[in-house]
């Protein structure tokens, strides 16, 4: 009676371009769901806006396709209110690191038990090819930045670490099985788990097919933040695997048991 990966597909046809990396991320998610034997109805996939953020509808689970940049607060509200659900936030680099950057910082700090999968294609796909925070400084094809962004690329894993994320991993859309494994581990992790996925945009950055040659495995999971910092710093941004793993207490913490106080009492004269 256990479900197969394909049973976790909703059957709705993705709007993605043929060859888009996001298909692989979808596959990896459904594989991980099957491996963890998640009940589809107890899972919720939450997103913002972007090509990547269309993903929830393609999974057979509950989902919320919110507004641009706010997947993490949406997911946080749901998880805090309904802790028994498996809550996964997904989205793109623009959604998560540009307009949503503040929520990323604070979600890493807050450590609510959700998984966050950021599909990074270093571009705004949905709005047709502007630079994103992760675009290389000298990428000349960004439609609003004719000379390149001339701005240092955003380093998602370094920021996650500096913000206090307890689980940081990097996956690649060209390796859906490896990615599925990372998602599995992220779901296993108690607390906020961040997966940075290199997910190519074949339409606006076709040169990303060359990523295949650049990605490489990282070996060994650093246990101290200092080690992780050194590792992430030294890496070229193409190292796959778990980059840091160190559980901290999850938020919210257990406190008062319900009941016991009548708040009306304090107003009575």
């Amino acid at each position: 009676m256990s479900l197969k990966a394909r049973d976790y597909k909703s059957g709705i046809k993705p709007i993605w371009c043929p060859g888009c990396g996001h298909y692989s991320v979808l596959n990896a998610i459904t594989k991980a769901m099957a491996a963890r034997e998640l009940a589809p109805h107890n899972t919720a996939i939450i997103s913002g806006i972007g090509c990547s953020s269309r993903l929830p509808a393609y999974v057979s689970s509950y989902g919320f396709h919110g507004v641009h940049g706010r997947a993490l607060p949406l997911a946080t509200g749901l998880k805090v209110a309904r802790p028994e659900l498996e809550v996964v936030a997904v989205g793109g680099d623009g959604d998560g690191f540009s307009i949503g950057g503040n929520h990323f910082l604070h979600a890493c700090r807050r450590n609510v038990d959700i998984v966050y999968i950021a599909m990074d294609n270093e571009v705004y796909g949905m709005t047709k090819g502007q630079a994103s925070p992760t675009s290389p400084e000298s990428w000349l094809d960004g439609k609003l930045t004719p000379h390149g962004t001339e701005v240092r690329a955003f380093q998602p894993c370094a920021i996650a670490l500096a913000s206090g994320a307890g689980f940081i991993a990097r996956g690649y859309s060209g390796d859906p099985n490896g990615l599925a494994q990372l998602i599995f581990e992220a779901m296993d992790f108690p607390g906020f788990a961040f997966i940075h996925v290199l997910s190519q945009c074949v339409t606006f950055v076709p040169e990303q097919t060359a990523w295949k040659q650049r990605v490489h495995a990282m070996d060994g999971v650093p246990e101290s933040a200092a080690e992780a910092a050194a590792l992430i710093h030294a890496d070229d941004g193409f190292g796959k695997g778990i980059l840091y793993r160190s559980p901290r207490p999850v938020w919210p913490r257990p406190h008062a048991q319900p009941g016991g106080r009548d708040p009306r009492a304090e107003f009575v004269l």
Binding site: G66, L72, L74, A75, F267, L269
Partner: protein, 573 residues
Amino acid sequence: MTTLTLAISGSGGAGAISTGELVLRLVAGSGGYGMLKKTFSPQIRGGESAAIVRLGSAPVATIPARIDLLIALDWQNFARFADEVPISADTLVLHSGSDDPPPGLTIDNLLAIDAAGIAAAADSGWLNMVLLGMLAKGLGNTCAAAEALLLARLEKHDEAAREAACRALRAGFAEPLPEPLAQLLAALPAPAPADSASPRWLASGNQMAALGALEAGVRFVAAYPITPASDLLEWLARHIEHYGGHLVQAEDELAAINMVIGAGFGGVPAMTATSGPGMALMSEAMGLAVASETAAVVVDVMRGGPSTGIPTKSEQSDLNLALYGLHGDAPHIVLAAQSIADCHFTTAWAMQLATRLQTLVIVLSDQSLGQSIQVFDAPGSEVPRAVVDHAVPAEPYLRYRDTASGVSPLALPGEPGHMYTADGLEHGENAIPSPRSRDHQRQLDKRLRKLTGFDFGERWADLTGQVEGRSVIICMGSVTAVALEARQSLATAGHEIAVLSLRLLAPLPVAQLGSLLESASRLLVVEHNHGAQLWHYLRSLLPNCTFDSLALPGPAAIQPRDIFAALEIADVA
């Protein structure tokens, strides 16, 4: 009704506010009524503050412009309050500090009391408690009653401090009252003996809104602090966990409203509270609640605007934003609380409506309702409760099904077989995104119909008085109490008017309102803002009515005399 209004002012640390609160509690404890308004200088500490307390033997809901008694604990920067604590020829000014009144100030009745000396003689530094003792005596209370309140108040202080305070209190109580003060205080009639069947409460509107939320079933709150909504949230932060709920201090208002929507999607009644600048930031996501049909409540405790404006003072100038501030066609519900006590009902009703109609409900309160404290008759135990009873959806399950009521079947995460993806993109009944005209039209119609077709019942407005052939004042929020007071004064002078206080602003019950107002002789919309926002709104929906407008911006409160003038009635006291 005879009431007594006293202001107690002083520099930071002088204890003006707590003295005022103790006076109010004292009077309330012996069956009286009253209200207290706090006012602060912009300085955070070491700045001046003043408590304006109005006492009466029957319920009191406004602070008048005239102060009967001013107790100046000191005069440092008193000028900053000049607007709010106007001294007239009738004001008795009790000068209790060692410094002199500022040069520009004209004081006709100045009474000096050496409170510091009396305190010192009692080996105490609590000069404000000397004054409390004197007031207690003058108002006919026992010293023991005052002492009990004082001790409760100083719970967290050490023994030595508490004793020193009590010594000062007793010394003040023992002091002979100067005649003018004795006379003034004695003029307040003794309250009727307290009726134990209807207990009375002392609370602020923010506390009442928070209680209403909790009692309606709110179990998730996310918010970002902002004056004057912070204390509403602070109250919830202390209580919600006892109900198994959570309050998240979000990184900003964008996060707060989206967290609320996330919780609402999960079926947990959820809300946030903020003020103008914060609600402006929530505008985009409020539209998401509307489009995705997710229950969410936003309480806006209005302050002076625009922009950062006057954060600590009251105004009703966020009405436009509340009614219209969403992009696209995004019908939603806007309620206004009518009184400090009504913050309780209206906030609870908001959560009930949000869950029943799966939409955004904005509750407008204002700083004056939110942060003044008042003695009022306790509300009953019946409170509107959030409704998350979602009918078992028909097969095939269509989340956004076009139903007769306009309310679509809602499945909650955790329910097998009804998975769907909520969406702010336009969608078909099946929740799949659709850019088609017919789907758009259908969902737009449905989202409007579920509001306009709903029976909101009797609580859409509170009417006081009879409409036929009379002038009717139309208002909301803290202006209501002023209008009701004006109505009473007018009645005493032989002019009968009616007051209609609108609780349901959107969707405005146009038909009911139109037929209610038909027979009135004159309609005056009174509101606390510069742009006559409510007046414009009513005009846009009731073109057959002729409305007059009285719109005055904050921070000064609207006064009954402003209403008399607008009604061109001269012969009222």
